[in-house]
Amino acid sequence: MVTGYGAVTPLGLNVEDTWRNLIAGVSGVGYISLFDTTDFKVRIAAEVKDFDPVAYLDPTTARRNDRFAQFALTAGLQAIEAAGLKVDDANRYDVGVLIGSGVGGLDSLAQQLDILKTRGPTRVSPFLVPMMIADSAASQVSIKMGIMGPNFGLISACATGTDVLGVAYKMIKWGEVKAMVVGGADAAVTPVGLAGFAQAGALSRNSEPQKASRPFDMERDGFVVGEGAAVLVLENLNYAVSRGANIIAEVVGYGATSDAFHITQPLENGEAAAKAIELALADVERNEVGYINAHGTSTPLNDVSETRAIKKIFGDKAYEIPTSSIKSMLGHMMGAAGAIEAVVCCKVISEGVIPPTVNLEHPDLECDLDYVPNVARAGDVRIAISNSFGFGGHNSVIAIGRYDGQ
């Protein structure tokens, strides 16, 4: 059961602001302000704006955490508060934390590498390791909240934010924990991060920031790096009911497969991605799926292979299922992408509104589904799925359903 969520995104410092902007079709992409991009081929990103960690965290905690962990902590505390989850001696060991990250404290590492080179090993910060390690996001939430069940991270590149939900869902299902604080966080808008993705040919070179992320459009030429975090509280039904929690939606399935093909390119025919969708829908009626939150990165390869995967599973019905990519507005939040997309699936189900794919002006001939172009629309959705694929051939799909009560 999903009982709460929180988020820090390029479109807002909480879920409500983010959602409002998403359904209004607002783009969070702009020129990079975090560092000087003079020598860079790519100068745009979807940055989190006006984020002052001290507004959410005490100054010492803020200082001892990389930006990605600051995002995670902020979103995590929002989620726990929204869920009304009190952690005390009665339930400390029944609650766990699982927050993943694609690149962890990349900027902290880069800064200390500079210091290592210019000033030598005795000037490297003792906080490098705790700030760099990707599990610090989960650990900080555990420390802050006194959560003493399992706490760890998980990494599957851009599928991280969906895999964490799948793993937490199974841990709850198997009875290992009663509740999990689960999500993803990344802050890859850093000089080395941007250069790395650009050199891999993955990023859009579009000079108009707000037009750059254009999933399924003929003129798409790569993704836009985003950043942020999203965290959800998942718990088993009995526990949620016993503590009188407000149940927003429920996770009804998870599927994960691998392309076993190439480290950056997806399998063209979408075969393994289709299998992941099939697995996620193993326990529900396929024809109840009323919304697909696409991975939709805006890269030439992803959007075609994802479209093929969707058609493989849904056949002719694929054309009737609204399918949108919020990366058109949020950029690619990396390890946080799947988590914010799951939050959005919950919102779609509870609010009856489907966010659009913006910048879809001339659809690619091979991308011929209903991508909810440019304008949000009403939709009564019982089951939504969110696809996430990642460098390394990860295909992960989570299915989220309306909770009607029993």
Binding site: D58, P59, T60, A62, R63, T122, R123, S125, P126, F127, P130
Partner: protein
């Protein structure tokens, strides 16, 4: 340069939540000021830079109070000037 003031500055920088008035000579670094072993490494690095000295790990190991930090630096500076 006033050694105590520099030590105080370094402590407050390491722990921005710290109230300056708490930083007194007999304050315990760990229990009173919430300064842990990682903070101490960072504080030692910055004091080394400020006073142009090198503090050994042995010296730092026996430190428990603000006054201890000041004493170690004073001793170093004396050796340097002597």
């Amino acid at each position: 340069m006033n050694v105590f003031e520099e030590v105080k500055k370094a402590l407050c920088k390491a722990n921005p939540g710290l109230e300056e008035s708490k930083v007194v000579s007999n304050a315990l670094l760990k229990d009173d000021l919430d300064i842990d072993s990682l903070d101490m490494v960072e504080i030692a690095m910055s004091l080394e830079d400020i006073f142009n000295i090198t503090l050994s790990e042995d010296e730092m190991e026996n430190i428990t109070t603000v006054g201890d930090v000041v004493s170690v630096i004073d001793a170093r500076l004396k050796v340097k000037s002597g």
